[in-house]
Structures are given as C-alpha cells and as structure tokens.
C-alpha cells in the first residue's frame, strides 16, 4: 500500500468516524428527555379543563410553535385511533404571557384540531400547565374515570421523532385496568415556559 493510499484510507476513516460521532451526539440530544410532569394524584379541582366524568381523560400540553410537538400530535392521533373513543382527549395549547396575538396558531394547533373528538383549549400564561405540573411540550397526563392519575409522560420515542413508543402500550393497558410495566414515559419537547418564568413561578 502506497503512502497516498494509506493517507486516503486514513482520511476516509476520520471522515466516517467524525460523521458517526456527530450522529451519536445528535441521537443523544434527541434521546435526552425533559422533566416529567409533576402532575397531582387527582384531577385538580381548580382546573378549567372540562373533564368528562364518564370517561378516562387524556390531556396533552403543547407549545404551539415547538416543531418537536408535531411528532407528539402524530402520536396522539395514533393513540386516539387505538382508543377509538374509550377516553376523552384534550390538547392544551400553552400561550406564554407577552407573546404576539396568534401565537397559539400554527402546525401544532392544526394537527391537534384534526384529531377526531379532541378538545383544543388555549392556556393563557400557562396556568393549566402549572396546575398539572407540565414543564415540557408533549407532556401528557392520563386520569381515570375516578379522577385519579394513571399515567404521565410523552408519547414520542425521541425529541421530535415519530414512531409508536412504549407510552402507547402503557396507556392502553392502564385504561383497560391491566398492569403496565411503568406508569410514565420520557417526555421530549420544547420548554413550555422560559427559564425566568419557571423560576419565578416556583418562588413561594
């Protein structure tokens, strides 16, 4: 092997290793979840979201402009298909204070509205998100007919990545009164509130 050839193969090796490492970090970023929603054990009494007492209620909190949440909406639509009316689904579009009018409109709202039987509400200032402890867009909480918390977490397999994840089976099992391996799942998405707002909200 000539030194030129050796140099070529070494260069290609470096190239392939560099690209592979970048993919690795990209996957790691996409697979790093946000904090789980610290949802109350029972449906908050103060919530203005219209809970259906006849059915289990599923609530997804979404940042209207978060591109990752489009994948969450796709998975919520998939879950809605699988449930086939056995649960009431709500999408809460969290609208931070101080944003332009129409902030809540966009691809996320459009996709949410396309899911059959879904109630879409706008949460001004993120009050409902606070009540349910949702921090990350895509956070989903599931309450039973009795108003008790069954599940909390995200529906996607990675940040902004479509694909039927473990949350689907867990939710379906729990809603069928069957045991699930876990009652939560990692949540991937943008922050519903900026750091300053979150910090201020947590100050007693």
């Amino acid at each position: 092997m000539t030194w030129r050839r050796a140099l070529l193969f070494a260069g290609l090796g470096v190239w392939l290793a560099g690209v592979a490492m970048t993919f690795f970090f990209l996957w790691r970023y996409k697979m790093t979840p946000g904090p789980l929603a610290e949802a109350p054990a029972t449906w908050p009494v103060a919530s203005s979201i219209a809970r259906d007492p006849q059915l289990p209620n599923i609530v997804m909190f979404a940042h209207p402009q978060c591109p990752c949440t489009r994948a969450s909406m796709t998975e919520l639509a998939r879950l809605s298909d699988e449930l086939n009316g056995r649960a009431k689904i709500h999408v809460v579009l969290v609208r931070p204070d101080g944003v332009e009018p129409g902030f809540e409109d966009g691809a996320v709202a459009t996709r949410a509205a396309q899911i059959p039987g879904v109630d879409v509400v706008v949460d001004d200032g993120g009050k409902e998100a606070d009540r349910f402890g949702a921090i990350v867009s895509g956070s989903t909480v599931v309450y039973g007919r009795d108003g008790k918390l069954l599940f909390r977490g995200g529906l996607t397999i990675a940040r902004g990545h479509e694909g039927r994840g473990p949350a689907h089976d867990r939710i379906l099992s729990l809603l069928s009164n069957k045991p699930a391996d876990r009652a939560d799942a990692p949540t991937f998405g943008c922050d519903l509130a900026d750091h300053e707002t979150l910090t201020a909200a947590r100050v007693p």
Partner: protein, 461 residues
Amino acid sequence: MTETIVDPQQEAQAEALFRERYDANVRRTDRLFAYLLLGEWALALAIAIWFSPYGWSGKIRTVHVHVPVAIFLGGAITLPPVLLAFTRPGWTVTRYVIAIAQMLFSGLLIHLSGGRIETHFHIFGSLAFLAFYRDWKVFVPATVIVAADHLIRQALWPESVYGIANPEAWRFLEHAFWVVFEDLFLVVSCLIGVAEMRKIAAQQIAVEKTQGAARELAIAASIQMAILPSEVAVPGLEVSAKMIATDEVGGDYYDVLPVADGCWIAVGDVAGHGFRAGLAMLQAQSALSALVRRSPDARPSELWSDLNYTFYDNVRTRLHNDEHMTMSLLRYHRDGRVEIVGAHEEILVWRSAKKQVEVIPLRGTWVGVSRTAFAEEQTLRLAVGDLLVLYTDGIIEARDPSSGRMLGLDPVRDVVVRDHANSTGEIRDAIFDLTTAGGRDDDASVIVLRYCGVEAAAAAA
C-alpha cells in the same frame, strides 16, 4: 443466441470495449450521485429551515439544532464523496464512499423529517440508485451502514428503533433482512447488466470485424473487376468479355493481351471462390501479363510452363496455400491462326461456312498443381465470320430451374447457333441469360470473339 468468440485478439478487443463502457458508466454514475448528494444537502437544509427553524423555551426562540445539523453534518456527509466524484471518478473507493454517504443521508433526512415513516423509503430508493453502478459490491458498505446504525441504536436507545425498551437481540436482523432482500434482487440485476454489457461489446466487435472484412472484400472486388478487360480492340477481332462473381471477389480469370500481330487470350478458374481465390487470380493475371510483355512471340506451351512455375512458386512455396487453376491460353494471329494450350473447359468454335459449332477439348495439367506442367498445343484456323466462345464452369454448371440439373454445354451451343449473327456482346449476354433463372453457385465468365479477316485486321492496325 450466445455470441462465441474464439479469436483471442477479438476477445481481448471485446473485453477492452466492455471495460471502456463499464468505466464510462461508473464515471457517469459518480457524477450523477455527486449532483444527487448536493441536491440532498440542499433538501436537508430546506427541510430544517421550513419545518424546524427555531427551538422554543416559552416565548424565547433560538435557532433549532436541525439547522446547524443540516448545514454542518449535511456538508460533512456530502463534500468528501462529491470531491472524489469530480476528482477521482471511476475509482472503486469513490463509489464505496458515495454508497456510504447516500446511506448516511438517509439517516440525516429521517432525523430532520421527524422520523416520518415515508422518509425511510429513502434507504430503499438509494439502494436502487446504487444499482446504476452495475457493481454489486457497492451494496456491501451501504448495507453495513444500515445494519451498524440499527445495531448501535439497539444497544444504546432501543426505543428509537423499535419503540420498545427491551427488544430481542436479533431484532436488528429483521430490519436488515428487508435491506438484504432488496440487495439480492439488485445484485442479480447488476450481474445480469454486466453480462449484457459484455455480450453487447462482443457483438459489436464481431459486427465491426465483419464490416471491416466486407469493406476489404469490396475493395478487392473493385480492383479485380477493374483489372479485367471488358471491351478490347484487337485488329481483326470483335471481342466481348465479362465476369460475374458469386462472392464479392471471384476466382475466375480472363484476359486479352494485344501484341504486334494479334493477341494472347486467357480464360481460367481458380479452384474455389472468395478472397483467396481472387488473390490467386490476380497473381495469375500479373504473371501472364509480365510474361507476354517479355516474350510476346513465345510458344504458348513455353508461356504456359513459365506461368505454371511462377504461380506454383508464389502460391505453394511462398504463401503456403494450395490454390490451383484451370486455364485456356490462346495465341491469336491476324491471319486467323490460333494456337491453343491448357486444361480447361472445351472451346466452342462457330464455323460460319459450315453453319455449325465445333467443340475443341483441351488436354493438359492444371496450373499450380506441380512445379512442372504438361499441356498439348493445338492449332486451328479461323475463317471470316467464325466465332470463338470461351467460358468457365460457372456457366455450364449453373442449375436449370425446371429440372434442377446442371445446364451443361448444349444450351450454350444452341445460343451460339441461334445468335451467331448478332454482335459478340449480344451473344455473350445471351449466354449469361441462360444462368440467371436458376442461379449460379460459382463465378462465371464468358469471352466471345469473332474473326473479321486479314483486311479488317490490317485496316484496324
């Protein structure tokens, strides 16, 4: 039908032509993929900017990670193979790097599109595009990249591949299987494509060789026809002659060589026909022409002997071939005397005074069979209005269309009897007409001569 090449030189030419075309195809495909990769890079950037320009934290937005990923990772995947495609097209390494890059782009586009199932079709489309190379080995690095991606992610983040946290260890094989499934058909199509390219190259070389040989034969035929006299002015004689070859190049020979008090007339037929027979005929013509110029007054038997020696030496000793020929050699004098020597078809003589045809057989050995030749010399005298008719076996061995039998001498004789008053050209053509209906298997020549008398000869001289 398979084209079989037995000629090693032709086989090497076909292989060289195949290599040239294969290489051209690979280079063309390298360039095609270079443009495709650049297009995919632009597409990745467009997807990132259009679908995920910003990441959000409440009301604060920042550039989404997809944008720098599309720019820098996309560029890192694109630029090395594009560089190789334009600076080292045709290299084996170039297409392997392109195959790897194409698969990496599938991964990048799947990321940027949010894992849409439709984007996964990019993998299968890319494999199909790689088949343009007609090199089955490009599927190896491409498939290894797909399998490695699944294997590594199964180990680190199984949910990202299968949607469940604890998949079976063999699960990646299921995904890789569908890639290998497509690979199998593409590999077969590549192998068939290469075999087809080889076959086409072999056929083209064979066609070119045939066309080349046909061109050479056409040139040889034109030389041969140009060297044969059609109308010759000999004092005291009206002469018409013609040869029609079965192949492009014939083995028949005739000549009329005027000399001071008459001329030499020769009619012959080299055994066989085609290029070698034509070459032998040209040698006989050259030798006789030279001998007549050197010794115009020689005895026909002497010239016959010298011609035989020259022909034998050229064909047998030098060329190591085995052609030989039958020939009639006649020396005509203005006073009507004709000396004949040779071993060939019988000569027809129309006697105008008796209104009948005489048939004169020749006795001798063929030219070129041995170094020494025997030929009995005969002499006849022509009267005014007499005709001499010489021909080759292509005339009398032509098939009668009704019976399928050979024509024989009788119809020729009948033509001479019937048309003796016509011009020699008309008699010659009438003899040829006998053979057109049934078709000839061999070259055919006819010479018709009419003696016009001493006065006419003197006047013409």
